[in-house]
Assembly symmetry: C2
Homo-oligomer: 124 residues x 2
Amino acid sequence: MAKPDVVVRLADKLAKIDEHWTPYVVGQLNDLYIKVVKVEGEFVWHEHADTDEFFLVISGALTIELEGMDDAELEAGDFFVVPQGVRHRPVAEEECELLLLEPAGTPNTGEVTYSELASPEQWL
Amino acid sequence: MAKPDVVVRLADKLAKIDEHWTPYVVGQLNDLYIKVVKVEGEFVWHEHADTDEFFLVISGALTIELEGMDDAELEAGDFFVVPQGVRHRPVAEEECELLLLEPAGTPNTGEVTYSELASPEQWL
């Protein structure tokens, strides 16, 4: 699917999602994919060797555990950029809605491609 | 200023801004700058020859007039990506708060560098 020239309402896209930790592509900016995801519980520790990763909390709260750094604690309206190569694990005690930005082709579980949480890139 | 490894609260950054149409850099994702801006009234028609541009409405409403395309009408929680090379003019009847994404070095007025609305890139 090519990048659509349409206004995207985040709430409408998120309303279509009923699983956790499965990101969906909802837009594209140059080589970057704009994704939304619902999360709850603990993700897998992983890293992205080639890119930073942007997290914006739309609703709920998110902790991003970071190897060698303090945890990043985010509420709605907060963003954090996980630096390239930094191992991290997102954790949400209750359901949390996120906007993610990362280059097209970035695996959601980084190098941990064998995880059951690994998800292919798919448009919503 | 190097990209900071901190959680950024959009509302706190926006609360520091008291002028319109002056974007401030609040984060970096690879070669992309994450910016916030308050807008009201009409901006200048311009284009970015080398990049798409991402607009997310944080509060208020925004119309993006687009040459050769229907206007994009955005409310809070909506985003739109202006395609590379498409002339556009953002317009807001009342004050509107935006999150912008574009590569570092992208002039806010595109090729219209002589506009009084042209603003240097500055971190907040």
